[in-house]
Amino acid sequence: MGWVGKSLRRKEDERLIRGNGLFADDDTVEGMLHLFILRSPYGHARIKSIDTSRAETVPGVACILTGADIEAQCDPFMQLGPEPCDKIVDLPLAVHKVVFQGQPVAAVAASSPAIAMDAGQLIDVEYEMLEAVVNPEEALKDEIVIHEGAGTNRVWHGVFEYGDVDKAFADAAHVVKIDRMHFHRFAGAPLENNACVAEWTRQGEIEFLCNNSFLGFAAQLLAPGLRVPIEKLRMRSYDIGGSFGIKICNYVYMALSALASKKSGGRKVKWSETRTEHLLAAGHGNERTFLDTEVALDKDGVVTAIRSRHIDDCGAYTRYEPLGCVIWSQVLPATYGVRNFHIDFTQVLTNKGPVAPNRGYSRMQHLWFMERVIDICAHELGIPADEMRLRNYVREFPYETPNGCVYDSGDYPAMLAKAKELIGWDEWQQRKEEARKEGRWIGLGIGTTLDSGTNNFGQAQIMNPYLPFSGNSEVCSIRLDFDGSVIVTMGSGPSGQGHETAASQVVADELNIDPSMIQVRPGFDSDWNTFSGHSGTYASQFAVTGLSAVHGACQKLKKQMLQLASYMLEAGEEDLEFGVGDEGPQLAVKGTDKKINYWFLSNVANSNNAVLDESLADVTLNVRHVYRPPFKVPDTGKKFGNLTLTYAAQLHIAVIEVDKDTFHPKILAYAAVDDCGNLINPQIAAGQVHGATSHGLGAALMETFNYDEAGNLLTSTFSDYCPITSMNIPDIEYGNIETPSPFSYNGAKGMGEGGGAPLHTVSAAVQDALFDEGLIVTESHHSSPAIFERLQAPNRKTAVRVESR
């Protein structure tokens, strides 16, 4: 007993450290075809003609797809949003017009990747360049309409109003006004690019081995798009080389592999994306602009109300959007007790890469906004950043937010105290003062964030009341196989989170056996493994949804095992105990030498059942459990309801020195304290914190998707995008507290996304370092050139106004 809570070495590692993983691109068979996708070099252009005749003559080419083929064989992918989203024609290839750089225009399947690429370059596409719109506020003017059928670029608008905002402003001691803030565009950039092997068999079935990370959802989009019943799809993943949410949206490209297989007579077709294709078109994180923010505060600096206008830029297609227009409201007040809100939220299309739900999806942007609000108000009112937070933190749990979400548990002041201790807060404050005297720019910044997990898909109905999605689920099946081995399958399809290990830990405790005696089947497999429509790895939920399903399945299996063993051993169920004996896992009669091992149990259930009594007819030793969190459909009119089950929290502190010659923001010290409730596998949880911290630091300091006015992506290789390396990342002091969730059976909270904490923390520290230079941080990206430019025209006088009574 007691495997849960231990840092058990991961089962997945056995194959991965030997190079024996099975990533989608590893699946190579003799005679398979390779797909090359020809993509638009322009951000916005009309396709005047496509001539494939030269490409067709290249030896080794099996087939070529163009928009005309696609239009004849596919239906546009379902868009989740209401009008005008449903008027956006989203097909795997552009037909009449391209709307972002990197959009697929044609595809070639050939006997080798090189031949496919050679032929692709012989496809002659004549474009008529159109003016592009990359600025979201410009796009809202609809002077350039990206999707003509939709008639407008504005894809969603809603007002989120709670409490009595006018009264709070009338009663305020201080009102702080912030003109404009901007959260930049970046992405998780998993090291494995998108890849997919598809085979459209002559029996009309389509088999996918891919790295999509939400296959329960992808199947529901691909089947109608490809005009096949969903049962014809075999959806499969094995090892996935990171996803960070981005790989949720690669179904668009999976369709191309399938269509090329169909057109080539059922040959297997592999598509492997290049890094540049990935950066151009695989999916970016949402970019967001916050305008006309007004903050009401009482005389003590307690925030009482916030008014603001948010514009989210989703790039050229909506796809998983406009879900992000509601998802952020899972963390409406962040970690603070603000009760009155008026947020006017708009989402707009631009000629940039479409977004995908990137790690910290939509909440991270809003949490950054809230942390900037708290921090700017603190600086303007002369309240220390730590004190400002202590005055505003939510302290009583469970806590119902103004929009009906329930924060399950937490202790933000304890996290702050722990992070201050880890970093040596008081000593750094002193060193900062001394450095200031020498004219050096050192700042300390705090970021407090939430990682809301296990989402209620009912929130999708706030975005589109006609959408038939709500609740959430994950599934586990567990069986004793013929030889008595314990086989577990799940629908989660992880991408590095160690689900095989964590599930084994839970089963081992339930059956009182060793985790090595349990086989958890890797990946997602719609034929072999179990799944539901919510199955996937996303939204920080496995520790709750996945493990609750595993736990529930164990209870069902144990019940049957007890029934069967009781019959076989002629003993009462209450006298039986689970454990391991000389012949492996077994059930034994307590205090006797009577026992039956798993092989015998399985044998009588599966192959020797004439010995059984009729009363055991339902005993199959093969059970399935669906975990459904206790959600209701939210009140869509009031935008009110519980949108997530658990709220993990992060508290980070950074000490940053901005070099006065190079303007490089160097991190001198960094602490990350996490609370995800009870830990299942502490080493895996810590690893997720390190990884999320690294992503956030990369985004805050280095990584950005920059577009020029014509819609050209200027950072489309790793050399330009600058993912964070071992030379750029500071040493991170990691700490943890555990406030068990009352809403999960195991007290765990879903985790892994990390709330984008480093973005908030770095912004806060840079502002602390440069506030005396007249700088208010209103941007989330802090490269040296960006800091240099901002210091040329310090913005404090124009960016912020404070009215005090």
């Binding site: 190079g19 390190h690 990884g691």
Partner: protein, 160 residues
């Protein structure tokens, strides 16, 4: 298309003779022709290091070397680290200290670390940072990778 070229390469101690297109990348040769798919491709611009292997004892990014350049040479890939059913101390340490999550960067990371420990028996924290600066990891934040390499170097010095 140019005429195929015959090459002879020793990979993980085994000699292979193959005809390859002159433009075939070494990583494609290793993955597709030899079916050693432990070596991965992450960027095609020599940035990410997922394809790192040892060629004639030196670490190279095999996405930027042609297969024909390896003719007559010796190559070590991740599949060659395990000896007689015994994992290399680096492989043990990466698993022990959770130095991998998705495992996609791991083969390249192991090969860079392998070279580092051949060059420097007792690397400092800075040595390790520099030793793996050409290998991106998007999952771990590198922290547990440093711990893994430090621990492996200790075990190797102790002769484990």
């Amino acid at each position: 298309m140019s005429q195929p070229v015959k090459i002879s390469v020793k990979v993980n101690g085994k000699r292979y003779e193959r005809e390859v297109e002159p433009r075939l990348l070494l990583v494609q040769f290793i993955r597709e022709q030899l079916q050693l798919t432990g070596t991965h491709i992450g960027c095609d611009t020599t940035y990410c290091g997922a394809c790192t292997i040892l060629m004639n004892g030196l670490p190279v990014k095999s996405c930027t070397v042609l297969a024909v350049q390896a003719d007559g040479g010796e190559i070590l890939t991740v599949e060659g680290l395990e000896k007689d059913g015994k994992l290399h101390p680096l492989q043990e340490a990466f698993s022990e200290h959770h130095g991998l999550q998705c495992g996609y960067c791991t083969p390249g990371m192991l090969m860079s670390a392998f070279y580092l420990l051949q060059k420097i028996e007792e690397p400092t924290h800075e040595d390790i940072r520099k030793g793996i600066q050409g290998n991106l990891c998007r999952c771990t934040g590198y922290k547990n990778i440093y711990t893994s390499i430090t621990d492996a170097s200790k075990k190797m010095r102790e002769g484990a």
